[in-house]
């Protein structure tokens, strides 16, 4: 089993997903290692979100296997979940909690990241003066940045993001892209869908187009 030692990161083999009796994708294989970004492209309804939910372990693929460091992610369960952070369409921001309370909860549910305190994470997404503001009183773009700040407060190695740039202005996009760049430079991994072109300069990018 010499192959196992080098088998780090996420390894997808022959994934398939069906929806309403239609094949969204099949025989999808890729390998995502340290410092690599996976960018999913494709038309609406081509299965991007479904694939991300499979990568999170929320949905079983209809065929194929998904391994993290050589182990099946569904067997790893919470151990795998400690390695990932996910921000989806419904961004998981609780409207009746303040920005700080939202992040404190996210931190407590995951493996806390010693490098980022709650304040530092809010500072990084330029929400530091909104720590005590209820999320419902933040603008849509600020809520999005709050959701993305969740990526920083846990030690997640793999960030899984569904349309992270929705409702962000160009400055917000710059902030998030610099988060991505730092994460990848630190050996992190990224799986992202976006209609907005993601500029990651010289990062190692794997592109998969689900429409073809």
């Amino acid at each position: 089993m010499a192959a196992v030692a080098t088998d780090t990161g996420l390894n997808a083999r022959h994934l398939a997903c069906m929806r309403n009796d239609r094949n969204l994708f099949e025989q999808l294989s890729f390998r995502l290692g340290c410092g690599q970004a996976l960018i999913l492209e494709g038309r609406n309804g081509s299965g991007k979100t479904s694939l991300l939910r499979i990568l999170c372990g929320m949905r079983q693929p209809d065929d194929g296997r998904l391994h993290w460091d050589g182990e099946d992610i569904f067997r790893l369960g919470p151990e795998y979940h400690a390695q990932i952070a996910y921000v989806g369409h419904r961004d998981g921001v609780k409207q009746d909690l303040s920005a700080g309370e939202n992040l404190r909860l996210a931190r407590g549910l995951g493996a806390p990241n010693p490098a980022f305190s709650i304040e530092a994470a809010l500072d990084r997404v330029e929400l530091w003066e909104h720590e005590d503001v209820l999320a419902r009183n933040l603008s849509a773009g600020q809520q999005r940045r709050l959701a993305l700040a969740r990526l920083l407060v846990t030690r997640a190695k793999l960030w899984i993001l569904d349309e992270p740039f929705t409702s962000l202005d160009s400055h917000g996009i710059d902030i998030v892209e610099s988060l991505f760049a730092n994460h990848l430079a630190g050996g992190g991994m990224l799986a992202v869908t976006s209609h907005h072109p993601v500029s990651l300069n010289d990062a190692d990018i794997i592109r998969i187009n689900l429409s073809t």
Partner: protein, 227 residues
């Protein structure tokens, strides 16, 4: 994951749900108001004969408590489902069943405990004796957590459905019936001056059973609902 981080996540989630309930306290009054209204309307409907009221009081109070608990069930997971928090729980580094238990305990503290607090007053209103009121409180203390725990399984199964209300009642009500039978009978028995240890033991057994099994079933149901 260590026990310390598990305990912290449990406490954090419990605190979060209580805080959220406190920030939306008007919603929290609904089940309690329903409980009080139904119970106080009965004497108006069936007449104020003390002997009659005393005879029907255990049944009325328990049926009202059961329906109040059912009314409040939907709120266990609904808002977390709609804003995506539930997905975050599902992929959190802690076992989902422990998080579910924290949520159900919070839900009981918010909706079940207030029923216990007003129940003695309603007992007096219906001419119950002191011993019966004590029995009523004991049965509510053992029984209402069972209602929350069993209800959580049903809610977890139906949370993804647009109109899950009817299915939820059909799923959950049959499982509520044993609690209703033992609890109401315990109160009636104590009114007749007989011991109710057997009833209480059965209710306690139901509670132990549901505390140990319901979080696992609820977690499994949530995984199905969200996939």
């Amino acid at each position: 994951m260590s026990t310390a981080s598990l305990n912290r996540a449990f406490a954090l989630l419990l605190w979060r749900d209580l805080l959220l309930a406190f920030r939306r306290r008007t919603e929290l009054l609904n089940p309690l108001l329903f409980f009080v209204l139904v119970t106080t309307l009965f004497p108006l409907g069936i007449g104020a004969d003390p002997a009659l009221l005393r005879a029907v009081a255990p049944g009325i109070i328990w049926v009202a408590a059961l329906l109040a608990a059912m009314l409040s069930l939907d709120s266990v997971f609904r808002s977390d489902f709609e804003d995506g928090s539930l997905e975050q729980f599902l992929i959190s580094a802690q076992p989902l069943s422990v998080l579910v238990l924290a949520k159900v305990i919070a839900h009981w503290l918010i909706t079940g405990l207030p029923l216990l607090i007003v129940a003695p007053l309603l007992g007096l209103l219906l001419h119950m004796s002191g011993a019966s009121i004590a029995a009523l409180l004991l049965t509510l203390l053992l029984g209402t957590p069972v209602l929350s725990l069993i209800g959580a399984i049903g809610v977890a199964l139906t949370v993804g459905l647009r109109r899950g209300g009817v299915i939820l009642s059909l799923l959950v009500l049959p499982l509520y019936i044993p609690v209703l039978i033992f609890a109401a009978d315990a109160v009636a028995t104590s009114g007749a001056g007989l011991p109710i240890t057997a009833h209480l033991s059965l209710l306690a057994a139901l509670l132990v059973l549901s505390v140990s099994l319901s979080p696992l079933a609820t977690a499994a149901a949530l995984k199905i609902s969200l996939s």
